[in-house]
Amino acid sequence: MREDFAEILRLVRPGARVLDVGCEDGELLELLTREKRVDGQGLEISPAGVAACLAKGLAVVQGDGDRDLDHFPTRAFDYAILSKTLQQMREPKHVLSELLRIADQAIVSAPNFGHWRMRMSLMARGRMPETRALPDPWWATPNIHLCTLLDLTDLCRELGLRIDACAALTAGKPARPIRPDGFLENWRAETVLFLLSRQPEDRSAETPKDLFGEVALPKPETGPKPRRKRAKT
């Protein structure tokens, strides 16, 4: 299972209404439907992805996250999920604010371009990094708006979003709760995951809750479900 999927699976409340933007072949939605009995809806641009979702019996709309979010009603979902897709959007800022209009909370994961592998690769080779997190050559990558952990944190603050939780993800390892404005984490985190909600401006300085950490990664398919802590207290 993809490391961010494991975390998303843990965060989502059972029976919630979930919109997965850029759901690809529906792997995450299928997982959420099976494990958390969510009422799921996918949005996917590629015909192959849509066909795969339909074959799995998922509700999926072929569409473009950059344009089609505008047509969803306000607060139609409990969660909007954007897993490793934000960096592929033409207008990440608009998309992020739309996610939190449509849903009460957003779960957003993105590769951290500030990760030391990226920096070293660029520094040592002088070429666009090709790492395990971002394996494609520059001319074939779908990622057009890459950012670092600190960049994403800044954007969330600018949009007045509350960061309920923030974690660093590495393949095969448990999620590690981190400070979204941590200077060192900006070097260490390979992929970052944010749990966001709409909020009044003055609560932006609150310390993020620890939603990760002491729980083990669920085993793929049949493993026992990990303990889940509530997103809000």
């Binding site: 009422d39 809806q41 015909p47 849509v50 066909a51 979702c53 339909l54 074959a55 799995k56 019996g57 998922l58 509700a59 999926v60 709309v61 072929q62 569409g63 089609d68 047509h71 969803f72 009603p73 139609a76």
Partner: protein
């Protein structure tokens, strides 16, 4: 309409003419009533004991109830023969498939060629103008009389898709799922314009005789053929026409006259002449009018989402074809956005094809896969 192989003989089929009791006339949107009301229909498969496996198949403008079996008029396979049959997407061993001829039609349902009870002569132009909602209301009366409270699915392409939308709007509580293919929530100016060309071609034919051609023992065949030729172009795409015919000639050299030099001319002429053998000109007028009058949002303060306000329990699947310029993908997207706005569970896919509007009659693997996936999961949810 192209179709595939002969159906397997082992399917249980039924059909005939359903008649509404005289006490139950059909109330029409125009304010008129229709009585007696007859509906020509075909069934494939068997209704299960819990009556949960019924699928209503709605046909397009010139279609009929012979969706999954040989058409007795043309001798050709059913228009959705490649979808209905054992092992196919709509498998009669699993579903009870009902296909009806729309009212206003000419294949057994009450239409302008039916006798007017007041005169004993064919209605002709005294037949009331009907709407898509009227067609659906008639279907709902028949479905109710069969004791079916909930249809597992209502499915259709083109005008059939509009009936599906109307079902979802007017009878959402009677639907488990709805599949709308290559349709639109309203007729555009261009749609109306093409239909007007067709109607004018029919009415310009001297044999039309203001609709009373039956009494004179003639038929406006030339007008109806031209109407079909013009309409048929809109069912294809430029790419498909080019691929099929290009500038290929019928025979060596040009005729330097107005014979059908080009293969595409000959093809269209054939489409026109074969159509008049199976279709009634007045039915063509009435059904095209019903399509032109279709505007689902208009009855809901102009807000399409309001039409689906009560359809939250229905599973929707909307499919369009990339080269369909009659009801382009944007129209299907409008439907999907309205469904999303209404909070309905909806799936939508645009099928990549160069075959144009009529692609839903044809072999399109991506289309088949999408439909099969949708039905399989809906059937599972329904316990079928």
């Amino acid at each position: 309409m192209d179709a595939g192989a002969e159906p397997s003989p082992e399917i249980e089929t039924g059909g005939g003419t359903w008649r509404s009791p005289a006490t139950k006339p059909l109330r029409l949107d125009s304010g008129a009533t229709l009585s007696p009301l007859e509906i020509g229909y075909k069934t494939y498969g068997r209704l299960n004991e819990t009556k949960t496996n019924a699928v209503l198949v709605c046909h397009a403008l010139t279609g009929d109830q012979h969706a999954g079996s040989t058409n007795p008029v043309t001798g050709r396979p059913g228009w959705w023969d490649r979808m209905i049959g054992p092992g196919l997407t709509l498998d009669p061993q699993r579903y009870f498939i009902i296909a009806t001829n729309v009212i206003g039609g000419c294949m057994g349902s009450t239409g302008p060629a039916s006798p007017n009870p007041k005169t004993g002569k064919p209605y002709a132009l005294s037949f009331p103008v009907i709407t898509i909602a009227d067609m659906v209301r008639a279907q709902a009366m028949m479905i109710e009389s069969l004791g079916i409270e909930t249809l597992f699915a209502v499915v259709g392409g083109s005008m059939g898709g509009m009936q599906v939308l109307q079902w979802a709007s007017d009878y959402p509580e009677k639907l488990f799922s709805a599949v709308c293919i290559a349709a639109a929530p309203r007729h555009s100016a261009q749609n109306i314009a093409f239909h007007e060309v067709g109607r004018q071609a029919i009415m310009a034919d001297p044999d039309w005789k203001a609709g009373d051609y039956e009494a004179s023992g003639v038929r406006p065949e030339k007008g109806l053929a031209v109407a079909r030729m013009a309409a048929h172009i809109t069912y294809l795409s430029e790419a498909a026409l080019q691929r099929k015919f290009g500038r290929e000639l019928q025979r060596d050299g040009l005729s330097w006259g107005f014979d059908a030099d080009f293969q595409v001319e000959s093809y269209l002429r054939h489409q026109g002449t074969s159509f008049v053998d199976r279709f009634d000109a007045n039915s063509y007028l009435y059904i095209t009018r019903a399509l032109d009058y279709f505007d689902l949002a208009a009855r809901h303060d102009g807000v399409l989402a309001n039409a689906f306000a009560k359809a939250r329990g229905v599973r929707f699947c909307v499919l369009s074809f990339s080269s369909d310029w009659l009801y382009p993908t944007g129209e299907s997207r409008d439907i999907v956005r309205a469904l999303n706005a209404a909070g309905c569970r909806a799936s939508f896919a645009e099928i990549e094809t160069d075959k144009g509007h009529d692609a839903f009659f044809l072999d399109e693997p991506q289309f088949d896969a999408a439909l099969r996936g949708f039905f399989a999961s809906a059937a599972q949810a329904r316990g079928l």
